[in-house]
Every structure is written in structure tokens, then in C-alpha cells.
């Protein structure tokens, strides 16, 4: 068993036809496997013939035979080898030797009693002679041997033993047929056959049909058997019959289909007439006659049929005629194929197919294209007016415009597109001016919208009729792009419509989210945030979709990028249910980046999503607001150990940096770095404690030292810490002083967490609370009962904070404190008591303290930063310009700040006023619209 390697040259099996041959090649003492394969789809014939030396296992490409393409039409074939040549045969009587130069040896017909009802076909060497073994089920077995050019036939009578052999033959054939890698070398292939006697003349069958008389060709190697010269008239007569038959078929007249023999004979006739010695080489004449056949048919039949029809009927006739014409070209170019191979190739003449199509173009298309165009446009206009039209017909007609160009779009563009564009423009401007005259502005807008929607509906309808939904829609947009790109400034209205459409879809998403949010609010407030999450997802999807259109259909044209950008800017800056889009995006990121966020995604999906969110950020004008919200949430993730993955944190910062610049992310990067430094700091603090046992406060203490400027600003109240914690703070301060001088530590207790043991009567429970809560609870170590006022005074906190933390300890899930009176809210007259009966099934519980709503503070902070930013920008501008008009100043200011936020003109005015008060600027005395910089 030898394993034949898979051919690297092989064509894809599904798309190609291939056949295999196997034989021994004495010249190289090797067995060879040959595959002849080719694409044979829709008239395209691309051969790819290869062989492999079985021993060496190397595949090589061989020149393909010009007759390959006939093979698949024939039911049986086989191949063999000798002396480095591949020889193959085809069941209806081909014999071909394949060498470097392909050569047709002999075309013969097998005069078998069963006609072509051949069951098996083996072609091989028999005693040094090529032979054909033609086996039929329950019939005699024919053996044809070829001595030089003569054919001998032996018919074997049917017998059991012989049948066994024929079965073996069949086995061999089958093996060749399903060759897929493994080949068994079969040596018995000829042994049995050798016993067959080659009996000359005996039982020789004469062809029954004169058409099938063996025709011999004059290969040099063989002894010539003179072939009668065919003269032009005689040969053409024969061809004419075939052409007439073809026309009859096209015209729908009763006529049997072409058989393989018919085809073979027509082909052979052409071959013969082209290969006769001059002056009997009729190649040129046949080439001309080929063209004339089309011209004659068109003049006599096609044109009259078209001329008598009009409008839609004419279009239908045209589509039919074009289809027929293509069939005619296909068949005739096959009959005349030999011309293409040698005569045309050598003289660089237009190929047969091209000649055929040119005939139609010159005679039919040139005469009718104007009429066709008008008919098509009139149909399109009818549809625009709401009538039903045959869209398939339209598409078929337009395809003619494309196909007639044979690869070039010129005909389509010049003869149809240009006029169509003109008409479209005229149609809509006519409509528009009517509407403008008749309607109010909103009505006009609505009609324009409606119109746009109808175009969409039309497309949608069109798409339903076709199976390739997406493809066609895209194609349609692409076509629209191509159409409109042809007229100067033609793309602008399209881009505009595109923009309107994107805006409408985006605004619908906003509306949807808005509705969902307000419904949710009515029901339950808890899951607010989920809608926003969904909303951002949908916006991302929308962006993906339209970005694909811009890239694929609108060829990345800047006009459409601009339209997309402007559309997204419109609805991305709307915000949902009181939350700005900057906040929504920051929340979205937080949900992805924090532990146990609502989105469960793979690392790749997270990366991809973050990438897209950052892209969306480009459309948000309040980037500073995003940054502030993002920083707040990042701070929570970092400080409360809620960040799911450090790499993702850094990755999104890199993305943000790329898009918004280093200044944008410097604080955030500082925060991430701070946390790393804080961990190192903690380690050295612990070392310090172990080296100074006296200093140890007796409580585990972790301090995260942060750099003030990087982090959001937190209020640092003077909470009265419990004595235990005061010790902690002092110890740390001492340690910190050993490390750095001139640095001030500000303690933000509101961000602290404490683990304290609650010694309740049933059992001791570890409570995880905030520093505020811990400070409040520890007060009850000294007193059993404390009033609200006492607690507030001892903690030194504001009412808001005291209410919040007492609520968390006495009114929420875990009631560590008993409140009098036992109500759901905290009042300043309440009295509290440690709940010693408290218990829970867990040994450790976390008592959450709801965070203060940070939104207001974030917005305030951003507003303050903006004031500084505007001031700085105005001063920068005025410093360089000295004197500047008001509008110019506002414009430059907006431009300078646009990367971070979109400053409100009012805000700028207000800052100008302030700068005037502060003597940075003054208004020109004569021109109140002019400002001067005061150095």
C-alpha cells in the first residue's frame, strides 16, 4: 500500500470535475497517478492537470489537453501510461495521447451493438498496443486494440469466467474513480486480458451510422490514413444544420436537444476544416461566418420581435432575447472552439464569446438602449408614485447594461446611470419644490422623511424577494453611492439622508431607553442601570452597523464619515432619564470592569467592548464629565478592591490615552500607579511595625496613601475617631515621617473600612462596616443608650452623615442598634441602644452604607474645572491676539476646548465678564464687540 500525498495543486473538489488515471511508466520505473481536473462552472473552463510519481510522491502540473473539457460530458473514460506519455480514452471513442504537446490521435466511434450503453470502460496497454475494453452488463465484451491507426475489435462472448474478469475491471475502475489518497497498485490489470486473442477482422463491427464512421486525424507518429478534404460549402452546410437546430431550440420550435455526438461532430467538422492544408484551411472564413450567423439571426428574428413591442413588454422581450443570445453564444462558441484555441489566439482577434456579445451590442443594444432606458426610468418613477412594478424585470434589464460592458461599467454608467440620476434629481426637486410651495416646513420635513422611508421600504421589499438579504441591501447602498458619486455634489444629499436616517435610529434608541427607564421607575427603582447598560450596548451595535455601511458601501468617503459622526453626536449627547451620556458610558465601563458586574464576558469580548466604548466617547462632547465620572468609579474599584482585572484597567486607559491624549488619562494612570505604590508602602509599614513592636497599635491597619491631585476630591470631615483608631493614625503618621518629609497626610475616613467583632448574646459576629459606622458603634462600648444629638456631638459629623449611618445600623437589614421609637426613618429626637440580641446565621456580615449620590458633586466639580479651563483658554487666546472680536474669541475658545467639552457660549460670556472685572480684558470703547487684552 502506498499513500499518495494530497496534491497541493488540486482544485477544490466541490467546484471541479476531476478524473484519475493510473499506470506504470517504464521510462522512470514508477507508477503514476494522473488527475485531470478543471472548473467547469457557467461556461468557464479552467483546466488543471497534474500527475504524481507514486514512488517519489511528488505532484507536477502538466499542460492540459485542449479536449479536457469534453470529458465530463462523456459517461466513461480511462487513462493509462506508457513511456512517459499519458494516454486516455473516452467511451464514445476518443483516444488522446498526452505529452508536452497535446495531440488528438483518433476520434472513433465504437460500433457496439448496445450503442453507447457502456457499463465499463478500461483503456490500457495490451501487448504493447493501446486497447479499449468495453464491457456491458449481460452483453459481449468488446476489446479494441489499436495497431498504428487501425482498430481491431474483439467481442467476447458472455461467460461466467469472463464476467468475473469484467467485475475485476470494474473494481479497478472504481478504484480510480474514488481515488482520494490511497492507491493500490494493481498488477493483474492486464494479465487476464492478455489471453484475449487479438483476432484481426474477425467479428469486426462496421459502424451502423455514417456519422459515426471513424474519422482519423493525421498525427505524425502514426501512419497516415488519408482523410478526405472537406470543402467550405460542404463543411458549412453541415454546420448550418447545427446552427439551425440551435435557433429552432431558441425559438421554442420542436427540436430534440443536442446530443454529445451532435456536438462532437460539429466540433470535429470545425477542427477538420481548420487543420486542412492551405488553401483548404478555412479558419478565417469560419471566423467570419461565425459572426455572420449571429448577425443574420438578429436581423431576421431578434430585432423585428423587439421593434414591435413597447414599454414594459419591450423590456420583457429584451430580457428574453438577451438570455437566448447568451445561450447561442455559449453553444456556437463551443462548436467553433477550435478557432479560439489556435486561429484567434495566434492572430490576436476578438475571442468567439466577445464576437458574439459584440453582435448583440452593435445591433440590438445600440438601437434600443435609449428606448430601454426611458422605459426603465418611467417604471422607477411609477414606483415612486406608489405603483406596483416588476422589480425582477428591472434588475434583469439593468444587468444587461452591466453585462454588455463585458467587465467595464461604461455602458451602464453612460447610457443608463447618468440619465437615471438626472431624472432622480429632477423628480425629487420637482417634488420638493411642490411640497415647499404647498406645505409648511414641518410638513415638508415629514414628507421628506416619508420619502426616505419609502425608499427604505422599497429596498426592504426588494430584499424579501431575494434570499440574499444583507448582501442586496449593501449592494443597494453601494449602488446608490456609485450613482450619486457621479454627479458633482451629488453625494451631499445622500450623505444628508444617511445622516438623518442614522440620527432617527439613534434617537429611537434614546426614546426606547427613556421609556424603559420611566416604566422601571414606576415599578421598582432597584434595577435602574440595567436599561442604561442595554442602551449603550445598542448604541454600540448601531455604530458597528453603520460604520460597516460607511466602509463597505460608501467606500470610506469622508462625507459619510462626517455624516455618521454628526448623527451620533446628535443623539449620543442626549442622555437618558436624567443621566448624561458621559455618565452612562462611565457606568457602562464600570460594569464591565468591576467584579461581579452585570456583563459576563470573555477577556477578548471585554477588550473589544472597551475598544468600542472608547470609540463612542469620540461623539460625546462632555469628555471632561466622562473623565470625572470615570475617575469616581475607578476610585471605588481601586479602593474597595472591586476591580476585576488589572490588565483591563490599564488597557482601557491606553485606549483612552490614544484617543483623548495624555492629559486626559494622566490622573487615572496616577490613580492606578498610586495603588501599586500603596501596596509597597503597606509592606514597608508592616516591616516597620515588626521592627518596632512598641509602636504596634494592637489593631491591624492598612493605609492606602494616595496623591491628592490624581483622585477625586473627598470631603475630609473631622470625625472624632475612637481612641483605638487615633492610636493607629498616630503610629502610621510616625512611620510615614520616617519615609518622607514635607508631605502632609490628610485622612479621608469616609473611605475607610473596619472589621469589628460584635459580641452579641447569641454569638459573636464579625461586622464589616465603614469607619463612620465603626466609630458610631464603638460609642456604645461606653454607653448603653445614646440619643441622636449625643451621637452627633461625639462623632462631630453633619446631620446628613449621622442620619445615613444610623439608618444603616438601625433601620436596614441588620439592626445592630435598637431605635426608639422603632420607625423606618431617623429623626433627631431618636434614642439608640445596642441590640445585644442581634444574631445572624453568618459569622461575618457586611453592613452596607449607601454611598452619597455623587452625581451632583461630580457635575459641580466639572463645572468648576470648566470655569478654570475657559478662563485659561480666553487668556491664552487674548494674550496672543491682543485685540479680538467677540465672535472670533468665542469660536477660538470653543475650538480650543472642544477636545474636552463643548463650552456653552453663555459660560464663555460669563467668563469674559469675570475677566473684565479682574482687569484681564476690556471692551473697546468705540466697538463694543471688540475685546482688548490688558497685560
Amino acid at each position: 500500500m502506498v499513500k499518495v500525498p494530497k496534491s497541493p495543486l488540486a482544485l477544490k473538489s466541490k467546484e471541479s470535475f476531476s478524473m484519475h488515471g493510473f499506470g506504470y511508466d517504464s521510462s522512470s520505473d514508477d507508477y503514476k497517478v494522473v488527475t485531470l481536473s478543471h472548473y467547469d462552472t457557467d461556461n468557464e473552463h479552467r483546466p488543471n492537470d497534474t500527475f504524481v510519481d507514486v514512488k517519489r510522491g511528488v505532484w507536477k502540473r502538466v499542460d492540459s489537453s485542449p479536449y479536457d473539457h469534453l470529458a465530463p460530458q462523456l459517461p466513461h473514460w480511462d487513462m493509462s501510461f506508457s513511456g512517459g506519455f499519458c494516454e486516455w480514452g473516452l467511451s464514445i471513442g476518443w483516444l488522446v495521447t498526452e505529452n508536452r504537446v497535446p495531440r488528438l490521435l483518433l476520434l472513433l466511434s465504437i460500433p457496439a451493438p448496445g450503442g453507447f450503453d457502456v457499463q465499463m470502460f478500461v483503456f490500457n496497454k495490451l501487448g504493447g498496443c493501446l486497447c479499449l475494453i468495453n464491457a456491458r452488463e449481460n452483453g459481449p465484451m468488446d476489446v479494441w486494440t489499436m495497431k498504428e491507426s487501425d482498430i481491431d475489435i474483439t467481442t467476447l462472448s458472455q461467460s461466467g469466467g469472463k464476467n468475473r474478469k469484467s467485475r475485476k475491471c470494474r473494481g479497478a475502475i472504481r478504484k480510480y474513480e474514488d481515488l482520494s489518497g490511497v492507491f493500490e497498485k494493481s498488477i493483474r490489470r492486464i494479465k487476464g486480458k492478455k489471453r484475449l486473442r487479438e483476432s484481426e477482422g474477425k467479428e469486426e463491427k462496421k459502424p451502423r451510422d455514417s456519422h459515426l464512421t471513424p474519422i482519423r486525424f493525421p498525427p505524425q507518429k502514426m501512419t497516415m490514413n488519408q482523410r478526405n478534404t472537406i470543402d467550405l460549402d460542404q463543411g458549412w452546410d453541415f454546420m448550418q444544420k447545427g446552427i439551425t437546430k440551435l435557433k429552432n431550440i431558441l425559438e421554442g420550435l420542436p427540436e430534440p436537444q443536442f446530443s454529445s455526438e451532435d456536438y462532437m461532430m460539429l466540433y470535429t467538422t470545425i477542427y477538420n476544416m481548420c487543420t486542412q492544408k492551405p488553401p483548404h484551411d478555412y479558419s478565417q472564413q469560419l471566423y467570419d461566418k461565425y459572426r455572420e450567423s449571429f448577425e443574420e439571426y438578429i436581423q431576421s428574428t431578434v430585432l423585428p420581435a423587439l421593434r414591435e413591442k413597447h414599454d414594459e413588454f419591450m423590456l420583457r422581450e429584451l430580457v428574453k432575447r438577451w438570455l437566448n443570445h447568451k445561450i447561442m453564444v455559449r453553444w456556437l462558441s463551443r462548436f467553433f472552439h477550435y478557432l479560439d484555441r489556435y486561429f484567434i489566439a495566434r492572430r490576436s482577434l476578438p475571442a468567439l464569446k466577445e464576437v458574439g456579445l459584440t453582435c448583440f451590442r452593435d445591433l440590438v443594444y445600440q438601437e434600443l438602449n435609449g428606448k430601454v432606458r426611458d422605459a426603465v426610468i418611467s417604471l422607477i418613477d411609477q414606483e415612486r408614485e406608489g405603483e406596483q412594478i416588476d422589480r425582477a424585470l428591472l434588475k434583469n434589464v439593468l444587468d444587461i447594461f452591466v453585462e454588455i460592458g463585458m467587465g467595464q461599467m461604461d455602458y451602464y454608467e453612460n447610457d443608463f446611470e447618468a440619465a437615471m440620476l438626472k431624472d432622480t434629481a429632477a423628480y425629487y426637486s420637482r417634488k420638493a419644490s411642490n411640497w415647499i410651495l404647498d406645505d409648511s416646513c414641518p410638513d415638508y420635513m415629514m414628507k421628506a422623511e416619508e420619502c426616505l422611508k419609502r425608499e427604505k421600504d422599497r429596498v426592504a421589499h426588494y430584499l424579501h424577494s431575494s434570499s440574499e438579504t444583507k448582501l442586496l441591501e449593501v449592494e443597494d447602498l453601494s449602488r446608490m453611492y456609485r450613482l450619486f458619486s457621479k454627479i458633482p455634489r451629488g453625494l451631499e444629499p445622500v450623505a444628508n439622508i444617511f445622516k438623518q436616517h442614522v440620527t432617527a435610529e439613534g434617537t429611537a434608541l434614546v426614546k426606547q431607553a427613556e421609556d424603559a427607564a420611566s416604566n422601571k421607575k414606576a415599578e421598582k427603582k432597584d434595577i435602574v442601570g440595567l436599561q442604561e447598560q442595554v442602551f449603550v450596548r445598542k448604541v454600540i451595535e448601531l455604530h458597528d452597523k453603520f460604520m460597516a455601511y460607511v466602509n463597505d458601501c460608501f467606500l470610506n468617503h469622508t462625507l459619510f464619515h462626517k455624516a455618521l459622526k454628526e448623527a451620533f453626536e446628535v443623539f449620543c449627547n442626549k442622555g437618558v432619564a436624567g443621566s448624561s451620556s458621559a455618565e452612562l458610558l462611565a457606568t457602562f465601563c464600570d460594569n464591565i470592569l468591576k467584579k461581579g458586574g452585570s456583563e459576563k464576558l470573555s477577556d477578548e469580548a471585554i477588550e473589544e467592548t472597551l475598544e468600542k466604548v472608547v470609540k463612542l466617547l469620540a461623539y460625546i462632547s462632555d469628555k471632561d464629565l466622562f473623565a470625572e465620572f470615570y475617575r469616581k468609579k475607578l476610585a471605588r474599584r481601586l479602593l474597595f478592591d472591586k476591580s476585576a482585572n488589572d490588565e483591563h484597567e490599564r488597557s482601557i486607559l491606553t485606549k483612552l490615552k490614544q484617543q483623548c491624549g495624555g492629559q486626559f488619562t494622566s490622573k487615572m494612570e496616577g490613580m492606578v500607579t498610586d495603588l501599586t505604590l500603596a501596596r509597597e508602602n503597606q509592606t514597608s509599614f508592616e516591616e516597620y511595625l515588626s521592627n518596632n513592636p512598641n509602636a504596634n497599635p494592637g489593631i491591624d491597619l492598612t493605609v492606602t496613601v494616595l496623591t491628592t491631585g490624581f483622585w477625586p476630591s473627598y470631603k475630609s470631615f473631622d470625625l472624632n475617631l475612637p481612641a483605638e483608631m487615633v492610636k493607629c493614625v498616630e503610629v502610621f503618621r510616625e512611620f510615614y515621617q520616617t519615609k518622607t518629609k514635607h508631605r502632609k497626610l490628610t485622612w479621608i475616613y469616609s473611605l475607610g473600612t473596619c472589621n469589628i467583632n460584635g459580641k452579641f448574646e447569641p454569638k459573636t459576629i464579625e461586622l464589616i462596616v465603614t469607619t463612620y459606622q465603626a466609630a458610631a458603634l464603638l460609642l456604645f462600648n461606653a454607653s448603653d443608650r445614646l440619643s441622636y444629638q449625643e451621637i452627633m456631638a461625639q462623632l462631630n459629623l453633619s446631620d446628613d452623615d449621622v442620619v445615613r449611618l444610623l439608618h444603616s445600623l438601625s433601620c436596614a437589614k441588620y439592626k445592630i442598634l435598637n431605635k426608639e421609637p422603632s420607625t423606618k426613618t431617623i429623626s433627631s429626637t431618636d434614642v439608640f441602644e445596642f441590640n445585644s440580641k442581634f444574631t445572624d446565621k453568618m459569622r461575618r456580615i457586611k453592613i452596607p452604607l449607601p454611598p452619597v449620590d455623587e452625581k451632583k458633586k461630580v457635575i459641580e466639580d466639572v463645572d468648576k474645572d470648566r470655569r478654570y479651563a475657559i478662563d485659561a483658554s480666553i487668556v491664552r487666546i487674548m494674550k496672543s491676539r491682543k485685540v479680538l472680536g467677540y465672535q472670533q474669541l468665542v469660536m477660538e475658545c470653543v475650538e480650543q476646548l472642544g477636545r474636552m467639552f463643548k463650552p456653552d457660549v453663555k459660560a464663555i460670556k460669563k467668563r469674559i465678564e469675570d475677566l473684565i472685572t479682574r482687569d484681564y480684558l476690556e471692551r473697546d470703547k468705540d466697538n463694543p464687540n471688540l475685546f482688548k487684552y490688558l497685560a
Binding site: 467677540y886 465672535q887 460670556k909 465678564e913 473684565i916 472685572t917 464687540n929
Partner: protein
């Protein structure tokens, strides 16, 4: 005095020339001027507190009662403008002289009459803007003060523009009192009010262009007026 001796010469000369006539006139007027100046100074000292070089608020009040005008009367402000008085509630001797000399008033009676002409003078467009700006500056009483509180601004507006632009001033004052964006007004905004009264058609506001560099408070004022109108 050299002046007296030189006066003698030309007087004695029979051939009186043009120049000598001028000299004569000059001498006469010089004499009159010095007399006038004396009287102006006397008048000053009659209002200034003992030995002081300033008339203080109390003195101004008695001046007003002698002139028979209220001390909040716009004419007093005009008088201050004429004197280019720097500090609200005070007139220095220099300021007093500057003002009264220009008004050619060396008695209370003359001053009282002069106030009528002064008002006409101030109302002349070429002077009014200067007066209007002066009115603002005059109210800056503290060191480095740049702005004036809304309440005072309302009074001042009424005082200086009230007679000329009644409707505008009433609306503006009403707005200033209900708005909460501004607690003080700076000079630029103050000047903006005057420009507004002069240039913007009222009450239809048809030529108000918010794209111009109007102060924000005027933008807001116009928005408020429009929303009020519906």
C-alpha cells in the same frame, strides 16, 4: 505785584492798541476772576467743617438744602461729575473750585441757577456717556472695588437713566431684582445697560442680536422679557 504795574503802563498810554485792550480786558477779568475765586473758596469753607479741606456728607447735605434739592437728586450727581469728585459724599477744595469755576458760580444763588444749565450740558449725548460712566465710578467707595451691588445699581439706574428711558429702566430693575445669577454688576455690564437703552428698540427688541457681544445679563434679561411676553 507785577500784574498791577504792568497794568499801569498801557492805561497811561494814549495810543491804545489792540493788544493793550486785550491786556486791559485780561487784567480786568483777572481781577474779577480772582475775586470770583475768593468767593468760591469762601463758599467752600462755609460748607466744609472747621479747618478741613473737604466738604463732608454733612456739608453736602446742608449745601443741598441751600440749593433746595434733595441730596439724592441727579443734579447733585451732575455737580459731582462737573467737579470730577472722586470720593462719594466728599468734595475737596480742588474739585469744588474746578466745578464752580466752570459753572461760573460763586454764590449759592448762581450755583442754583447753574444747575439748570448743567443738566442740559450733561444731557448732551457727547457728555452723557461720560457722566453715565462717572456715576458708576462715583459709587465705588472701597479700595479695589470693581462692582456694585444690585440694589445700588437699581437706584443708580433709576437716577441717571430713569427720566430718559423710563420703560427700559423699569423692566431692567424689575429683572435685576428677581434674577439670582448676579449679585453685583461691573462697569462693563453697567455700560452695557446704557448701550442697550440707546440701541435696542423697546419694547419689541427686534434689533437685539444675541450673537453680538452683549453681556450675558442682558441676554438673560432679553430672554426673560421674551418669555414673559410669551
Amino acid at each position: 505785584m507785577p500784574r498791577t504795574s504792568s497794568r499801569k503802563g498801557p492805561t497811561n498810554s494814549s495810543a491804545s492798541s489792540n493788544s493793550s485792550t486785550v491786556d486791559l480786558f485780561r487784567a480786568a477779568s483777572g481781577r474779577a476772576a480772582s475775586k470770583e475765586l475768593e468767593r468760591i473758596d469762601q463758599l467752600f469753607y462755609s460748607y466744609s467743617s472747621d479747618g478741613s479741606s473737604m466738604i463732608d456728607p454733612e456739608g453736602i447735605e446742608s449745601l443741598c438744602s441751600d440749593l433746595e434739592v434733595d441730596h439724592t437728586d441727579v443734579r447733585i450727581l451732575m455737580l459731582a461729575w462737573k467737579m470730577q469728585a472722586e470720593k462719594q459724599g466728599y468734595f475737596t477744595l480742588d474739585e469744588w473750585r474746578r466745578g464752580l469755576k466752570a459753572l461760573r458760580a460763586d454764590t449759592i444763588l448762581k450755583l442754583k441757577k447753574a444747575l439748570v444749565d448743567l443738566e442740559k450740558e450733561v444731557r448732551r449725548p457727547s457728555n452723557f456717556a461720560d457722566f453715565y460712566a462717572y456715576a458708576f465710578r462715583y459709587c465705588l467707595t472701597e479700595e479695589k472695588q470693581k462692582s456694585i451691588d444690585i440694589e445700588s445699581i437699581c437706584l443708580l439706574l433709576d437716577l441717571v437713566l430713569g427720566s430718559q428711558f423710563r420703560a427700559q429702566v423699569d423692566a431692567l430693575i424689575q429683572y435685576l431684582k428677581i434674577q439670582s445669577d448676579y449679585k453685583v454688576i461691573n462697569m462693563d455690564q453697567w455700560m452695557g445697560f446704557y448701550r442697550f437703552c440707546n440701541e435696542v428698540k423697546f419694547p419689541d427688541l427686534s434689533n437685539y442680536d444675541p450673537d453680538q457681544a452683549w453681556t450675558l445679563i442682558l441676554d438673560n434679561f432679553v430672554d426673560w422679557l421674551k418669555s414673559k411676553r410669551g
